[in-house]
C-alpha cells in the first residue's frame, strides 16, 4: 500500500468516526459505473463527507473538483488534492480561449466519476440556490454518464436553527434515482428538475 492510499483510508476512517458519514442509496445501487454525483452544498466538509460515505472501491474512481488557485497553492494542499482525492483542477479566472469545463470533460472522457456542487458556492438558506449551467453542459456532452442527485444532510440535522448544542454529528448522504437529460429539454427546465430531484431527497432522508 502506498502512502496516499493509506492516508486516504485513514482520512476516510476519521471522517466516518467523527461525522458518522453514512450513504443511503434509495434510487440506485452503490455501483462502480461512470457517474456524476450532484449535491447540495452547505459546508466545507461536504466533499469529504460524500467521499467517506462511498464504498472503498467507488472512492478511487470518484473525483472532486478543486479550484487551482487555492488547492494547488501550497505543497501540502496540492499533495492532498492530487494524491489522495485525485482532484480535477479548474481555474477560477476565466480566460477567453479556454472553456472552464474542459478539465471536467477531460476527466469524464477518461472514464472517471465526478462530484459537483451545481449551486457554485456554499448556501445558507433552507433550500439550495438555483443550479449553475455546468451540469447541463456536462449532461448534454455525456449522455451515457448517469447523473445521480445526492442530498447531504449534516448541518440541518446536527444543529437545527435556534439550538445551541450540536448533536454528535450524524451526517448522511442520500443518493437518489438517476436524472437524465430529455431530448430537446431546455437548459433552465433541466436545471430546475435536477434541483428538485436533490431537494426531494431531503424528505426521504
Amino acid at each position: 500500500m502506498k502512502l496516499p492510499e493509506a492516508a486516504g483510508l485513514l482520512l476516510a476512517f476519521i471522517a466516518r468516526l467523527i461525522t458518522g458519514a453514512q450513504g443511503h442509496w434509495y434510487g440506485c445501487p452503490p455501483k462502480a459505473e461512470q457517474r456524476i454525483y450532484f449535491a447540495n452544498h452547505q459546508s466545507h466538509f461536504d466533499w469529504v463527507l460524500l467521499w467517506a460515505a462511498l464504498p472503498r472501491d467507488l472512492r478511487a474512481a470518484t473525483r472532486p473538483i478543486a479550484a487551482r488557485d487555492y488547492w494547488a497553492a501550497s505543497p501540502l494542499k496540492h499533495w492532498i488534492t492530487r494524491e489522495i482525492f485525485n482532484a480535477v483542477y479548474v481555474s477560477r479566472q476565466r480566460t477567453d480561449d479556454e472553456d472552464p469545463l474542459e478539465p471536467l470533460m477531460e476527466a469524464l472522457r477518461s472514464g472517471d466519476s465526478l462530484v459537483i456542487f451545481p449551486e457554485g458556492t456554499r448556501g445558507h438558506a433552507a433550500d439550495p440556490a438555483p443550479f449553475k449551467s455546468g451540469l447541463y453542459a456536462l449532461a448534454a456532452a455525456f449522455p451515457d454518464v448517469q447523473l445521480i442527485p445526492a442530498w447531504i444532510d449534516n448541518v440541518q440535522r446536527v444543529m437545527p436553527k435556534g439550538e445551541v448544542v450540536p448533536v454528535p454529528i450524524l451526517c448522511t448522504v442520500t443518493f437518489g434515482a438517476p436524472v437524465a437529460l430529455q431530448a430537446g429539454e431546455e437548459r433552465r427546465t433541466f436545471l430546475d428538475r435536477a434541483r428538485r430531484a436533490v431537494i426531494a431527497l431531503r424528505s426521504v432522508a
Partner: protein
C-alpha cells in the same frame, strides 16, 4: 486443568490472550496464504466477507486486551465509547425530527455518561433501574417540551429503544468486569470473554445450521435464514462450548451449560431483532450490495452482545444471590 488453576489470575488471563492471539494470527496467515491462489468471483466474495469478519474479530480482541490490561476505568471508558458510536449509528438509521433535538442531547450527553459512571462506581442497583425507570420518564417529557405532537409516540419510543439497546445493554459488559463474586475477584475479564465467545459461537453455529438444513424460515419478511431449528442448534452448541469453558468461570459445569445456552440464545435472538429493525429503517439490498454504506457495521456486530449481556449479567447475579 489443575496446573492452570495453580497459576495466578493475571497469568491465567495472560495465557488466555496469548492463546487467542496465537489462534487469530494462525487464521490470518492461513487466509493470507490462500490469497495466492486464483479464485472465481463467488469465492472472492466469500473471501472478502470472511476477511471483514476476521478484521472485526481482531479489532474486538485487541479492544478486550487493551481494556483488560489497562484496568476497570479504561475498559468502562472503551465500552462507553462503543456505546456512543452504536447509539449514533442507531439514531442515524431511524428518522428523527427537529423536536427530538433535546431528547437526543439528553441521550448522548447525560444518560450515556451517567450510566457508565454508575457502572464504574459499582452502584449496581442504581445502574439496573436508572434507564428503565428514570430515563423512561425523562425522555418523553423532554420530547413533549419540544412542542411537536407529530408522531410523538413513535419518535420517543425509538429513542428510548435505542438507549435501551445501545447504552443499557452494552453497559452490562463492563459491569461484568466489575462484578464482585465470591472467590472470583479480579476475574471479570474471563466472564466477559466467556460471554463474547459463547455468543459468537451461537451465531456461527446458527448460521452454519441454517445453511445446511434449509428449513422454512419462521419470518420470511425479516430473515430468510432464521428458523427455530437452527436457533436451537445455535443454543445447543453455545451451551456445549459454555460447559467446556466452565473452568474459566465461577460456575460448576451444569450452571456453565445453562449460562452458555441462555447467553447464546439471547444473543442470536438479538441479532434477529436487529434484522427486523434494519428492514424497518429501509435498509435493503441492491442485488447483494447493501443500501447503506459508510459508517455502518458496528451496530450489527454489537447488537447480539447488547441483548445477551443484560440477561447474562442478571443470571449471574441471581445464581450467586448478590
Amino acid at each position: 486443568m489443575l496446573d492452570l488453576r495453580a497459576l495466578s489470575v493475571t497469568q491465567q488471563v495472560g495465557l488466555l490472550f496469548v492463546t487467542i492471539f496465537g489462534l487469530l494470527t494462525l487464521t490470518s496467515l492461513v487466509a493470507l496464504s490462500r490469497t495466492l491462489r486464483e479464485r472465481t468471483a463467488a469465492q472472492q466474495e466469500t473471501y472478502w466477507r470472511f476477511r471483514r469478519d476476521l478484521r472485526a474479530v481482531w479489532a474486538g480482541t485487541l479492544l478486550f486486551w487493551i481494556s483488560w490490561a489497562s484496568g476497570a476505568f479504561v475498559s468502562t471508558l472503551v465500552f462507553g465509547l462503543l456505546s456512543f458510536l452504536a447509539l449514533r449509528e442507531f439514531v442515524t438509521l431511524t428518522h428523527t425530527r427537529r423536536g427530538d433535538h433535546r431528547s437526543l442531547l439528553l441521550a448522548f450527553f447525560i444518560v450515556l455518561p451517567a450510566q457508565y459512571v454508575l457502572v464504574a462506581t459499582r452502584l449496581f442497583n442504581a445502574f439496573t433501574v436508572f434507564i428503565p425507570v428514570y430515563v423512561f420518564l425523562a425522555i418523553p417529557v423532554v420530547s413533549a417540551l419540544g412542542n411537536d405532537p407529530n408522531r410523538f409516540l413513535e419518535r420517543t419510543a425509538k429513542i428510548q429503544w435505542g438507549i435501551m439497546v445501545c447504552v443499557y445493554g452494552m453497559s452490562h459488559a463492563p459491569a461484568l468486569l466489575l462484578l464482585d463474586l465470591p472467590n472470583y475477584a479480579e476475574r471479570g475479564a474471563f466472564l466477559v470473554l466467556y460471554l463474547v465467545i459463547v455468543v459468537a459461537v451461537a451465531q456461527l453455529a446458527q448460521e452454519a445450521a441454517s445453511r445446511k438444513l434449509r428449513r422454512r424460515p419462521v419470518a420470511r419478511a425479516i430473515s430468510r435464514s432464521f428458523s427455530w431449528h437452527a436457533w436451537g442448534i445455535g443454543v445447543g452448541v453455545a451451551a456445549g462450548v459454555g460447559m467446556l469453558l466452565f473452568w474459566t468461570t465461577p460456575f460448576d459445569p451444569f450452571a456453565a451449560l445453562a449460562m452458555g445456552g441462555v447467553a447464546g440464545g439471547a444473543g442470536t435472538l438479538g441479532e434477529f431483532v436487529m434484522k427486523a429493525l434494519k428492514r424497518d429503517a429501509g435498509v435493503r439490498s441492491w442485488s447483494g450490495q447493501p443500501s447503506i454504506t459508510g459508517a455502518v457495521g458496528l451496530l450489527d456486530r454489537a447488537a447480539p452482545l447488547c441483548f445477551a449481556a443484560p440477561v447474562f449479567f442478571h443470571s449471574v447475579r441471581w445464581y450467586f444471590g448478590v
